[in-house]
Amino acid sequence: MDTKNNPQHVAGNGLIHRRHLLGLGLAGIGSIAAGSALGADAGMLNIPSWSKIPGNGPSEYGTPSPFAGDVKRLAGGPSATAPGSGVSRTPLHLLRGTITPNSLHFERHHSGVPAIDPAQHRFVIHGLVRQALSFTYEDLLAYPMVSQIYFLECSGNSGANTVATAGDTNAAAIHGLLSCAEWTGVRLSTLLAEAGVTDAAAWITATGADAASMGRSIPLPKALDDVMIALYQNGEPIRPEQGYPMRLFVPGWEGNVSVKWLTQIKVADAPAHFRDETSKYTDLLPDGKSLQFTYPMGVKSVITSPSGQMKLLRQGIHEITGVAWSGHGAIRRVEISADGGRTWADAHIEAGQQHLALARFRLPWQWSGAPAILQSRATDSSNNVQPSREIWMAAYNPANRYHYNAIQSWSVSAQGDVTNVYA
């Protein structure tokens, strides 16, 4: 079979084999989009004005093209009762690739962004150690560092889809408490070794230098494994809203434990049971009990295009694309359905996808103009499979908003309108 000119349908409602991602030439598109017009006549080309005059010179710090559209975080309004508290969300549907630009990394603050002078900032390790130690920012800059690409996801991300009625919102509003960056810093194990953790130690308790002094507890084995004190984000000093001059970074775990503006690690024999690990970030179950210290983020994926509040303007080939991630390892598989989960096809995942980082997936889709329900379902390297919404909701109290990782459904109407639905 000439697969280039006869694209192989691999699942219902127009999904096409991933080998056609690169192979679909115009002939391929023409043959499968039979009946739909190709582009309009391109017309005569003239040399544009910007090719006739010199442009602006170099600048100290780059900014996006004014023509690139409104690629901005979705920021909530100020809190009336808790100054500085709130979130802004990454515009997932406006980004392609896997790295989140620093200006678009999501935010969650519990008492605003402190204006920290790094020369005055101190980071202290104390508690169950042989020698309590104080470090300056300059001290930490002198240590051997590691660079790793990791996703960061708020425990409350996607909680909007736990409510009874699906909101008519977009991918950022639902899933935008998710970002991915290259983090560079000093391994916490290096500094804990310098202080000398004693035999009684089992946990670390970490607090930030923000006005809320936000604190979280982390089991010692994780602290000694891959946790770092991050100083750089995508190569530049971490942004104030990400914890400048330093933050804890706890790969794969709910974002809240990656304490920003890190100032204190107290090594302890038990968790501190801070407010943000008892009152908040705990998962209420149907029987009234709650899960506590639910750290790794579950395997998850979301189609970012087409996604909520977009509109398909033509029939024919569209690339379905999105991101997948897991706090339990790397993404091994992403399946796509265009018929509400009746049939599935394997999406293409970019090669070299990394442990605890975002994966980008793609699959061509021939939209016939008929209504469709688009879904994605991720599987990670620990063989965890992303659950359906029905299964996830049955596991928790209906009031629980944390750790929602169920399959996202986008409805495509005959008019091409894409809407968040429960299916």
Binding site: A270, P271, T278, T294
Partner: protein, 182 residues
């Protein structure tokens, strides 16, 4: 307290020469931490700075307070957001009443929080939101006692201090399943 020693001098002491030997292949000579720049500090130097109070009550400060003493300061500094009886308001959570068993559940300090230490710890470090850490330790004891009393956890004249607080039994103390080892 935070006088810095010259980085170069400390790096010398910590093994720069060992590193230079290692660089020609004798990795076994590397110290565990080729760089060691932390300045020693004592717990006494951290006494006013370390605010962490865990359920065992370790690090609770001196001072004490009762609900009766806490009522006035609650009405001055807390009631505008949390309500005159801890019932909450738009944008501010209820502190007392409620149950995990209702539909929907109402999760408050009284109905949900498993440890009294968390209330003391959180109020001292983060409340009120407009002026965190402005309350004295005595005021935090008083307010903690008042909120616990509003939910009927302690009597109005119960003296909360570093000895009595760890023994306070919260209604939902058995409501949590620690899955950190999973």
């Amino acid at each position: 307290m935070f006088m810095r020693k010259p980085v170069f001098m400390r790096a010398l002491a910590a093994g720069v020469f060992t590193l230079s030997v290692a660089s020609i292949g004798l990795a076994a000579d590397l110290p565990a931490n080729p760089v060691a720049l932390g300045s020693p500090i004592t717990e006494a130097q951290l006494a006013d700075w370390d605010l962490i109070v865990a359920p065992d009550g370790d690090n609770l400060p001196d001072g004490s307070g009762t609900a009766a003493q806490g009522q006035m300061i609650y009405h001055q500094k807390c009631a505008a957001c949390h309500g005159t009886a801890g019932e909450g308001a738009s944008g501010s959570p209820a502190l007392v009443g409620g149950s995990v068993s209702t539909t929907p559940p109402l999760l408050t300090v009284g109905s949900y929080w498993p440890h009294a230490s968390t209330l003391f710890d959180y109020v001292r470090r983060a409340m009120p939101p407009t002026a965190p850490k402005s309350l004295s330790n005595t005021e935090v004891y008083q307010l903690t006692a008042y909120v616990l009393h509003l939910h009927g956890v302690v009597a109005e004249d119960f003296v909360l201090d570093k000895n009595t607080l760890p023994a306070v039994q919260m209604p939902n103390r058995d409501g949590f399943i620690d899955v950190s080892a999973n």
